[in-house]
């Protein structure tokens, strides 16, 4: 009882997430995940907890279907997937913003100058569609899987919707953010049934992590 399967996001969020989970008592302090290895499933022998290494965008699927009890991924990803997940905690790491960015040369500085039927490249089609639908602007969305800032350079799209944390990549490609669609950070999500069957273990974990935040 009380053993927990966690879906961890591969990539830049991994290290800070592991730190938080160690402080939260889910992982023993000396436990290390060899990020470079090809292993995708790890077991912490002392606690018996297991960890799956998944792409951040896949974390919601593992958790929704109960393949993992809990998972950690960005709010942007959770929103984009629209999965039925319980979002219990903001880990306050991996902060970034999802923005609408336009090429400097377009001369556009405000959302209301965006023309109807323009083309927008993004790897967040669902959020992008909702954003423009709510404002009554009809746009054509082109879904890309990465390097979205390339699209306006080669005239695949007029504008882009993408995440940015420091703004450097946008600047390097002469793109200017003109509207923030949402701000995001890493969230702890829980499967709706695991939340109940492992309620005590999970609320313990959350309280411990929450307390770390307050001590800092």
């Amino acid at each position: 009882m009380g053993k927990i399967k966690t879906a961890l996001p591969k990539g830049r969020m991994m290290e800070p997430v592991l730190d938080i989970l160690k402080k939260g008592g889910l992982i023993e302090p000396d436990f290390g995940v060899d990020v470079s290895s090809r292993e995708l499933v790890f077991e912490d022998e002392k606690s018996g907890n297991t960890f799956l290494l998944a792409k951040p965008k896949d974390v919601p699927a593992y958790v929704e279907h109960g393949a993992a009890d809990i998972g950690i991924t960005g709010k942007d990803v959770i929103r984009e997937h629209g999965k039925e997940l319980y979002e219990l905690l903001d880990l306050k790491i991996g902060s970034c913003r999802l923005v609408l960015a336009v090429p400097e040369s377009s001369g556009i500085t405000e959302l209301k100058e965006i023309p109807e039927h323009c083309r927008i490249a993004t790897s967040y089609p669902r959020i992008t569609r909702q954003f423009f639908e709510n404002r009554g602007i009809q746009v054509e969305i082109i879904k890309l899987y990465g390097s979205v800032e390339l699209a306006p350079l080669v005239e695949l799209s007029d504008f882009i919707v993408d995440i940015t944390s420091t703004g450097t990549t946008l600047k390097e490609n002469n793109l200017i953010p003109i509207a923030e669609i949402m701000s995001s950070s890493a969230r702890l999500v829980v499967n709706s049934v695991s939340y109940r069957t492992r309620y005590e273990r999970i609320t313990d974990l959350i309280n411990q992590i929450d307390n770390i935040g307050e001590e800092d």
């Binding site: 219990l88 903001d90 049934v193």
Partner: protein
């Protein structure tokens, strides 16, 4: 060839015997429990008028309806659940019915869910509606749900109980404007505690502590006392009181170990008026049942205000949680040859009448192939008629045991079947 010729519509599938038999087994077990409690089956149309199904339902669930238009221009819809069609039926046919009504169903319902992997759009539901019942009704629904789940063989499961009056009572006191109440409930219902905290900060609600406490109000009977301490209005106190009463009934029936209380539980449908519950089992990431009290729905269909309570179980999900295999129980194969066909059919007739499950096959296979076929159907015996001179009925048969692969002659005299099958 168009690709859709071979495909089932998204979210739907054909179930082959292995799965179908499992569903039937689950259905039979649950039916027995429903019968034990005096519930009688009801059948309603798969299609209903769209406007009828919308009665008592929230706007945001409308996207989940399969809709079609008939040749007169009416909008029809595949039922997304059974409570509304049954409520409609009860009001429509009230002269033929007398309260209290205990109705049960086994029925497919259809939901055009967002295309998420692994979600069925055709859902086999079993459930019951107790209409015009007494104050024991809440407990009756919960107990029958527990007994039904137990009957399927699932052992580790729990129901989470709540009473929507508790939250209503709390919200009643808060200075909420416009859509704020709905928003709060949405965050709670989705257990989006991050969103909830941010939202409470945003609207600058002073009494946010009490709302922030709600997610923590989950647990066994002790949690009812904590809830009682938090309850500041008559409505909230009454809700806790009602849950205590229900718990006492559950204790008397000795099923109290199967329930927890969760004061942030909210169900998707908004016709509920009192106690609500959801059930789940370990190692399955989905809920397996849900239900609650809906005292206004009958009235919304134009009937008299009638108390009612019900629940539904998801048969596919229950099947996922169980590992027993659906098997057909064939007792034997009777072989036909050109010369013995009449005698073989008479023999088969006799066995069918005595309730043996007998397959009839032409004898055009090798012995090994026959045994293989029998094994596939779990048939223990293969029977062939021994040719005799001009007799109308077979006097002697050869019985091949498919496990030992040995054959023996059997003379057809009184009681021979018992000798062959041991039953």
């Amino acid at each position: 060839m168009s690709k859709n010729i071979l495909n089932a519509p998204e979210g739907m599938k054909s179930y082959l015997p292995k799965e179908a038999l499992k569903f039937y087994e689950i259905r039979d077990r649950i039916s027995r429990v429903f019968q034990n409690w005096g519930y009688e089956p009801v059948i309603t149309p798969v299609l209903e008028y769209y406007e009828s199904l919308l009665t008592g339902m929230e706007q945001n669930t409308q996207k989940e309806f399969y809709k079609l238009i008939d040749y007169d221009g009416n909008i029809l819809s595949l039922r997304p659940e059974m409570t509304a069609p049954i409520a409609r039926t009860v009001v429509n046919r009230r002269e033929e019915l007398s309260l209290p009504l205990r109705l049960s169903y086994f029925a497919p319902v259809f939901r055009y869910d967002n295309p998420q992997e692994g979600k069925n759009r055709e859902i086999f539901q079993m459930g019951l509606e107790f209409i015009g019942g007494n104050s024991f009704g809440d407990a009756e629904a919960i107990i029958t749900a527990i007994e039904a789940i137990k009957s399927t063989g699932i052992e580790k499961f729990k129901l989470d109980l709540n009473h929507i009056g508790f939250l209503e009572g709390i919200v009643e006191e808060l200075p909420l404007k416009g859509l704020q109440e709905k928003k709060l409930k949405e965050y709670l219902g989705r257990k989006d505690f991050v969103g909830l905290r941010n939202y409470l900060d945003n609207i600058g609600l002073k009494q946010k502590e009490i709302i922030a406490q709600l997610p923590l109000l989950r647990g066994g009977i002790d949690i009812l006392n904590k809830a009682d301490d938090l309850a500041s209005t008559e409505a909230s106190r009454k809700a806790v009181e009602k849950l205590k009463d229900i718990y006492e009934y559950l204790e008397s029936y000795k099923v109290e170990d199967y329930v927890n209380f969760d004061f942030s539980l909210i169900r998707g449908l908004n016709y509920y008026t009192g106690m609500i519950f959801e059930g789940f089992t370990e190692n399955l990431g989905y809920t397996i049942c849900g239900g609650g009290r809906y005292d206004n729905l009958i009235e919304q269909y134009g009937g008299q205000k009638t108390p009612a309570v019900g629940f539904a179980l998801g048969i596919q999900r229950i099947a996922l949680a169980l590992d027993y295999k659906g098997t057909s129980s064939i007792d034997g194969v009777v072989l036909l040859t050109e010369k013995t066909s009449s005698q073989a059919l008479k023999l088969a007739r006799r066995l069918h009448r005595k309730d043996y499950n007998i397959i009839i096959e032409e004898n055009n296979r090798s012995r090994d192939e026959l045994i293989k076929l029998a094994h596939q159907k779990n048939a223990a015996k293969i029977i062939s008629i021994r040719e005799t001179k001009s007799q109308k009925e077979a006097a002697e048969i050869e019985v091949l045991d498919t496990n030992s692969e040995t054959a023996e002659k059997v003379v057809l005299k009184e009681g021979w079947e018992k000798k062959v099958w041991g039953k």
